[in-house]
């Protein structure tokens, strides 16, 4: 699954990288490493970009530019 397909509030985990674009490499360097859990905290009113939260930081990314990251949604804990 891709980051852009997640709904607002969804949590997910990075499971792989299928396209090592500049954006993907940079996100990895900013801490979105393999296995990192993150949450989609907000989707902009016009549908894109997306705000994601991991390692105590909140970043805004464009859904399309993150297509190189494979993710797996996590089931809600409670």
């Amino acid at each position: 699954m891709k980051i852009g397909e997640l709904k607002q509030g969804a949590k997910a985990q990075v499971v792989g990288y299928c396209d090592r674009t500049d954006c993907v490499m940079r996100l990895q360097e900013m801490g979105l490493t393999l296995g990192t859990e993150f949450q989609v905290t907000k989707i902009a009113p016009l549908g894109d970009p997306i705000e994601i939260c991991f390692r105590c930081q909140r970043l805004v990314v464009r859904g399309k530019e993150c297509d190189g990251i494979e993710i797996e949604p996590m089931v809600a804990e409670q």
Partner: protein
Amino acid sequence: MTATPIVRTVLHTVALVGNPNAGKTSLFNALTGSQQKVANYPGVTVERAVGRLRGNTPGAAIEVVDVPGLYSTNAVSVDEQVAAEEIRGAAGPALDLLVFVADVTNLERSLYFFSQVADLGQPMIVALTMTDALAKQGGSVNIEALSQALGTVVVSVISHKGVGLEDLKSAILTALEQKPVPPPVGKEPGSKVEISTDERYKWAQEVRETSVLEGPPHRSTTEKIDAILTHRVFGLAIFVGVMYGLFQSIYTLAAPMMDGIEWLIGQLGDAVSPSIEGIPWLQSLVVDGLIGGVGSALVFLPQILILFFFIAALEGTGYLARSAFLMDRLLGWCGLSGRAFIPLLSSFACAIPGIMAARVMPDARSRLATIIIAPLMSCSARLPVYILLIGAFIEPRFGPGWAGFTLFAMHFVGLIIAIPIVLILNRNVLKMKRLPFIMELPRYQWPKWRDVWLSMFLRGKVFLQTAGTIIVLMSVVMWALLYFPRDIEGEARAKREYSAKNADFRERVSEDKYLQQVHVEQSYLGRIGKGIEPVFAPAGFDWRLSTAILCAFPAREVVVSSIGILFSLGSDAEEKDLQSALSSSTWPDGRPLFTPWTAVGFMVFFALCCQCMSTLATVRRETNSWKWPLFMFVYMTGLAYVAAVAIHRVSLLFG
């Protein structure tokens, strides 16, 4: 060298290094005060700020460099590359010490970059920022444990409150002597094999866990504010309100200040004028060329200062990033970014502050694209031309409805044209690597007024020093083109011609105004205008209109007074007289000069052309090269010409 004994001082260079938004610039401002010098790195548009360390530093002069923020030493863009090279010491003078600025609330990411910099093996100490924000969240940090884990000195600082600054200064002084080199993280000394990003983050996480105690998880104030400010409905409504306030301020708040500057410049001219009365050309050079030129640079200051006040305040609070978050979709599809909104919006007041505001974009490519289209937005200096021509040719024939529509359309023409231009720019012209769009949403906080004030002050200073100088030089050149050649003989001839005119003409046009007109006609600029008449003929403009366009180069609004002079009404003609003069003027063969279509063509030409030397001077400063202002001038003038000719041709078809 002077003979007087001077205290021997050693010059040291200390660089502040760290992630963007880590509080680097705030710390830099606190360490250096207003004694900063800002200049572009060679060949790129990113700036390097340098300042002297304030306070007592016995025996040493310490220069502090604010290196642009980086996430990694692996540079993606050219801007990042120059910053990374500076840290490596590959560019320019070697650095004596790195002060790594680490944000304690975002410690893992800071430490990732720290681990890369540590591998370079340079003397480095750490300044830990945002400890106050951590404390507010109920967390704490063990500085000693962190210092031990990193293998170097760590000093906690709260820049805007001045907390820890003295400790940091003395740590810098000690470190300059002892040169503490933290142990490399990612590789064995001497080995070339580096560990992976994942492993670096594992290390960073361990370090954080041993040194930082986080507060209990809770919904932060920032999240609560964001629930409103980036809300689907309220968020957009508030955004529109904020932007309206910003635009109104640069549009109306600046106006009285600009009038004030113009008045002062006028007073200065009047004061200086009598002392050099004996030499007319010198008097005109000083008053019209030099003082007038300084005035045309100074007049932009209010708008620049107001806009940068807003930008610095919005950036300081964290709202700037939110506004980009809201607008990114709207601008992103054609290759711009959400951050282009404020520069483009301000360009509707004036392109100069708009172009300068483009530096809120970290990506050089979208910054350039924004700069290049900014002058297409219809600035307030074009308004007098629209009003003059619409009043003369649209309103009397088609009524106020169409007049209003035309005025509205004129403001949209540039915006519409800008879209294909950006698409072409991105596809065919701008080839540099694009920085991925990854934007941090920082915590909301009150703006730090010192940072806001310094940002305003520096932007004003940089504008006057670089663009201002070019503006004054160009003003003098334009003055010379408009003043010379001037001889007694020509003047006498014009006077004779005037007295030979019939009484009716002399009734209409005073001798003064006639001489003014003849003089512009005879000047080099007037000759150029006449020379290029055939070029403008396909657009339906005669030499007077083409000369008026040329005269507008120092400032667009001058076009109205130039039209006044060229249509023998003097530079301060009433709008009514000007409008009737325009509608009654003809080609030599008796055809009317203006049809409504010619008026529209002239307005569209004026909306699209780049007849504004201050814009070009600002683009020169902001892009650090003459290539882009030249490109801008050529493409905009070409566009304007093609549009004006097309409008004229179409109007001929329909009679």
